[in-house]
Structure formats: C-alpha cells, structure tokens
C-alpha cells in the first residue's frame, strides 16, 4: 500500500519536474510555426499565447492532477497561520500557554485514570483474578484462616488456582549485613497466578522452602552474582535456599498491606514460599495461619457462582471449627476492583474537575481570538473581496486555531509528563497503581483528541463572527474596523459569563471536596486504631500459635 503511494509520489515528482520547460518549449514551437507563416515575432508570440490559453490555469490544472486541491490550500493556510503566529508572538504565547496548561492537566489526570482504571492488571488472565476474604461481621479485616484456604484449595471447582500470601517485613542476611526487606510470603499457587517466571533458577518446589529474589534486590545486595542460586541464606535466622531471580520488569500488583501489619506498601524485595500447616484437631489450642487470598476463576464462571460454592465449603469448615471463631461472611471481588478500591470515585471527580479547568482555558482562548478577530476584519474583508469564499475563510480560521492547539497540546504533553513525574515522586502511594502511570499510546491519542476538540471549540466562535463581516461596510468605512461588531461583542460577553459560571462550579466543587477531606481526617475511621488491634486478637479467637511464626500475625 505505502509502496504504491511512494511510486505515485516519485512519478509525480518526475512528471511535474519540467512542466515549465515543457510549456515553454510548446510556446516556442508554436511561435516558430507562426513566424514561418509570415507573422512578425511580436504577433507570433501574441498568437501563440492566445492559442495556448491561460498558462497559470494550465499549470494549476496539471498540478491538481497529482496534488489534491484541498491539500494545496491546506498548505497555504498552514503557511499563513505560521506567519500570523510569528507576527503576534505575545498573543500566540499567551494562547499556547493557556492551552498547554489546560491540555496538560487534563492529560496528566487522564494518564492516571488510564493506568489505574482502564489498563488491566499485568497478570496473565487478569480479568479472572479475584480477591477472597472472610471478614468478621463488623470488622474490616480481610484475612482468611488456613482451614478455609485449605478446604477451598482442595474442594473448590469454580477456581482453577488459589493462593494465600502475606506481605511482611523480614530480616535477611545478605553476607556482610542483615537487611530489613519487604517480603511476600506466598503459597504454591502464587507463582502461576502472578505469572512469576524467574529469569534465573526456578520457583521453590511445592511444599519446600525457598526464596525468589526481585531483580533489583539481587543486583543491589548480591551484586548480580548468579552464584547465590542454590545457596542457603539466613532468613529470620533460619537458612533458606535462594532458588530463583525474577526478570527486571516483574512487579506484583496487590492491595496495600493491612494498616495494622505496620508494613508500608511499595516495591517487594523478594518472595518466599509459605507452607500451609495443617491446623490440627479442632480445639481451644488450634493454631491457624492468616492469609490474604487471591484466586483465578475458571473461564466463563461468574463471581456469584464462585461465591456460592466457596461459601458452602466455608460453612462446612466453620461447623468443624465452629465455636472458636466469630461468625464471618465471605467476600469475593475482582482483584482489580479491590486494588483500586475507593480511588475510582475520586479519580473520576478529579477528571471532571480538570475538564472544567480545560473548558475555562478554552473560553479564555476563544475570548482572546474573538478580540483579535475584530482587529482582523479588514484583512477578512480584503480576502473576501478578492474571491475567498466563506468556507475557505472558515477553514483558514480553523487551521489557525488547530495550529495553536497543536503547539499548545505538545507543550501540554510535556507539562503532563513533568506533573506526573513530580506526583509519582512526591506521593507514590496517593492512589493505588499510581507508580504504573506512563504516557502510552492511549494517553497520547487522548491528548491529540483533546487538542483538536479544543481547537474547534476555541476557533469556531471567532470564525463565525468574522463570517458575518460585511465586506462593503468594512472596506468603505475605515474607522469602523477598530470597533468590534455588536455580534462579536455579544459573543464575548456570553463567553465571559460562561467562564464565570464554570469557575464558580469549580470553586464550589473544590470547597466541597476539601470539606469532606477535612471530615475524613478529623474522624479517621469511626474507631480507634488501638481498638482495632485488640479486635484482631479477638478475631483469631483461639490462641494464635507463635511457632508458625512468619505466616502468623505477630505482635
């Protein structure tokens, strides 16, 4: 396809190359013929020219065979627009800066929305991954006890994989020092669920202990030395074999660790196998491990079906361990929804807010363009007088505002990049998955679409008021050109009113958001954190054995 186009372009260049020479040659031959017929050179030239017709028209028609007329005119408009921008640098700079801010803010927020809400998780079959929890009736602790996890793993038909994990801080001896690291301890199913395929070595065999290092941790503390594979490294004082190293790009996307665990969310340093201990016979001394649980639905199964099955299995387990635990309920949601949590609504509100800002920027720019439009009436009148049609003028104005918006939009993408880099650096945990924010093709397409829409919104108003310009009046009465027509004045007043209205909406919205934020921080969660810790103790009901230490909640 593009080969054909290239051929055509090459052909065009070759054919058009010496059109002038061709026509000159033609005229000279005709002239020579005329002289042979006895004319004087002057008459011969005049007759030849008359016979040929308009040279300019012939050239234009010939060019039009190869280059579509609209393209030629577009290039003219672009050249003209560039000249306008250069001639009024201050005006153009203000317009472009305003647009850059508006488009930049909108693009930045959209890239966050894109990363957090639109893009799927980076796991294989991410749309089938679910988060499973059994919170107690009036509590928010979303943990699962090992008897439930084992029963589900052995009996559930609606899941094709299930894994328990726990994010914690652990001490690992890297040779010359002991490092406090952020660790995911996970059961067998985790590796497959998370798509963790080590670049070096393997994942631990089922039922065996083992450490899988993240690439960054491997580089930093083991200097990237593959010799560490197969060696036992003291982990919490107990030698544990390093079995693998993950590839550099690997990263898990998990909900932030529970607040009471005291672990900050952030990059995971390494992963280790966690082995589920059989709980032993039900009784007051039963020890259970606590896990966060993720699973993968079988294809085509609904959340509701899985919920019913898991709940039935859980009911049996509850009967067996009965009295020791308080009543719990089953909660199963898509992992993506669990990770994003309440951020969805805030992000959508934020997006709406920046769109309002963009609209205000548009109104400002439209106003500026209108103001300039009234000083350009004379130019428009002259161009109309020499034969530019209404649609041609309209198109020229649109091309001009498109160019302003294109430059503003490009600057806006840079603004967005800077804003995002700053945001991710200062507040990486402000929104879940914020660190994944990048400006991918979708974001760039969004920025381009916003720029075009902005150009049309900003450019149409002045184009239409100019359209109404009366050629006769403007050309006849030079004094009138300085004063804006009533129509354009009315348009400008309307714009200012709209702008004011938008600003008020934005201000009120921001005020309300601040107020609810104030309320949230004033009265954090409706209960005190201390009580929550005590409550967690009560949730366990039976004494938590401290000997299965790493998987248990330790205090």
């Amino acid at each position: 396809m593009s080969g054909v186009l290239l051929d055509l372009i090459r052909m065009k260049r070759k054919a058009l190359d010496d059109l002038d020479a061709d026509i000159r040659d033609h005229l000279e031959r005709e002239m020579a013929d005329n002289i042979d017929r006895g004319m004087t050179p002057d008459d011969a030239r005049a007759a030849a020219l008359k016979r040929f017709g308009s040279i300019a028209l012939a050239k234009e028609d010939t060019r039009a065979v190869w280059i579509p007329v609209w393209f030629d005119q577009l290039m003219q408009d672009v050249r003209y627009g560039l000249r306008m921008i250069r001639r009024t640098p201050a005006f153009s700079a203000v317009v472009m800066l305003t647009l850059a801010l508006g488009i930049g803010l909108t693009t930045a927020v959209f890239s966050v929305v894109n990363a957090v809400l639109v893009r799927p998780l980076s796991y294989p079959n991410a749309d089938r991954l679910v988060w499973i929890a059994t919170p107690e009736e009036r509590s928010n602790e979303e943990l699962v006890m090992s008897p439930d996890l084992m029963a589900w793993r052995d009996q559930a038909q609606s899941l094709d994989r299930l894994a328990g994990f726990f994010i914690g801080g652990e001490r690992i001896d890297v040779g010359d020092e002991v490092v406090q690291a952020r660790v995911v301890a996970a059961t067998d199913g985790f590796w497959d669920l998370a798509g963790a395929r080590p670049a070096l070595g393997t994942v631990p065999r089922p039922g065996e202990q083992g450490i899988v290092l993240s690439h960054a941790f491997f580089e930093r503390w083991f200097r990237g030395d593959p010799g560490v594979l197969g060696h036992a490294v003291p982990l919490n004082g107990r030698p544990t074999a390093v079995t693998g190293v993950l590839p550099p790009g690997f990263r898990v996307q998990l909900p932030p660790p529970p607040a009471w665990s005291g672990v900050q969310s952030g990059e995971v340093d390494f992963y280790r196998a966690s082995i589920i201990q059989p709980p032993g016979p039900p009784g007051p001394a039963t020890a259970v491990q606590l896990f966060e649980v993720i699973g993968r639905l079988k294809p085509g199964l609904s959340l509701a079906r899985a919920h019913d099955e898991l709940d039935a299995i859980r009911a049996n387990t509850e009967k067996a361990f009965g009295a020791q635990f308080r009543p719990r309920r089953l909660r199963i949601v898509l992992l993506a929804d669990k990770i994003v949590g309440g951020a969805r609504r805030s992000l959508i509100v934020l997006l709406a807010a920046v769109v309002l800002v963009l609209l205000i920027a548009c109104a400002n720019v439209a106003n500026l363009l209108l103001a300039r439009g009234s000083t350009r009436q004379r130019e428009v009148a002259i161009r109309t007088a020499v034969g530019a049609g209404r649609s041609r003028m309209l198109r020229q104005f649109l091309v001009e505002s498109l160019m302003l918006a294109a430059i503003g939009g490009t600057a806006g993408v840079l603004v967005a990049r800077l804003a995002l880099a700053g945001l991710v650096r200062v507040l990486p945990e402000a929104v879940p998955r914020l660190v994944e924010t990048t400006m991918d093709a979708r974001v760039l397409a969004f920025a381009a679409a916003v720029s075009v829409a902005t150009a049309i919104v900003c450019g149409l108003a002045p184009a239409f008021t100019v359209r109404k310009t009366s050629v006769h009046d403007v050309l006849k009465d030079g004094a009138r050109m300085a004063s804006a027509s009533a129509g354009s004045l009315r348009a400008r007043k309307t714009l200012v009113a709209a702008e004011l209205a938008l600003s008020v909406v934005l201000l009120v919205g921001a005020g309300l958001m601040l107020r609810s934020f104030w309320r949230i921080t004033e009265n954090p969660a409706g209960f005190c954190a201390r009580a929550c810790v005590n409550d967690a103790d009560a949730v366990l009901g039976a004494a938590v054995s401290r000997k299965h230490e790493p998987d248990c909640v330790r205090r």
Binding site: D22, D25, A47, R51, F52, V65
Partner: protein
Amino acid sequence: MSTGEVRERIKLLQGTLDLLVLRTLLLGPAHGHAIMKAIERSSDDVLKVEQGSLYPALHRLIKRGLIGFDHGTSDNNRRAKYYRLTPKGRKQLAVETSKWDKLASAIARVLRPVT
C-alpha cells in the same frame, strides 16, 4: 488566420481529449506541441482545444499509466519531453474507441432515424 477561423469550431466533450491524445500517440512518440498539431490537423481544425488543456490531460494519462515519457532531442536539436503509449494505454485505446463508436452510432440513429 486560415480558413479554420471562419469555420465553426466545436468544443471538445469532457474527457474526449484524453482519447484523442492516445490515438495520436499510436502513431509513435511525440512532444506536446506535435500532439496538439496532429489533433488539430487530423480534425481539419474543427476541434477547438485550448492548447494549454493538453497538459492536464497528459498528466492524467501518465497518472493512470496509459502513457509514459522520455527526454529526447528533437529535429532542431532542442531537448523535449517525448510522450509514448504504454501497452496498457494501447489496450485502453481499443476499449475507448469501440465505446466511442457505439456511442456515436447510437446518437446518430436517434438524430436521423431511418424512416
């Protein structure tokens, strides 16, 4: 000028010039001026063509691949562009000619019905 000016000249139908150019080039490669002269001469100067309109027609035909061109030197030692028929153009000429014949005879039948 000559008698041609006295005679009434007929304006060409849209697109007919392309056909005439193809027909002229069937005789061999020629430069623009020669093509125009040949058309005028063989139509006994009846057809009124602005010579300038030859060039868009030539370029239309080049774009459709019906004619090609080479640079050559003419009789009086001047460089000129020589247009020539391509095999594709030869085929197209046959098609267009038979189409034209059909059209012409059909119109003739309508205008002068055999009574």
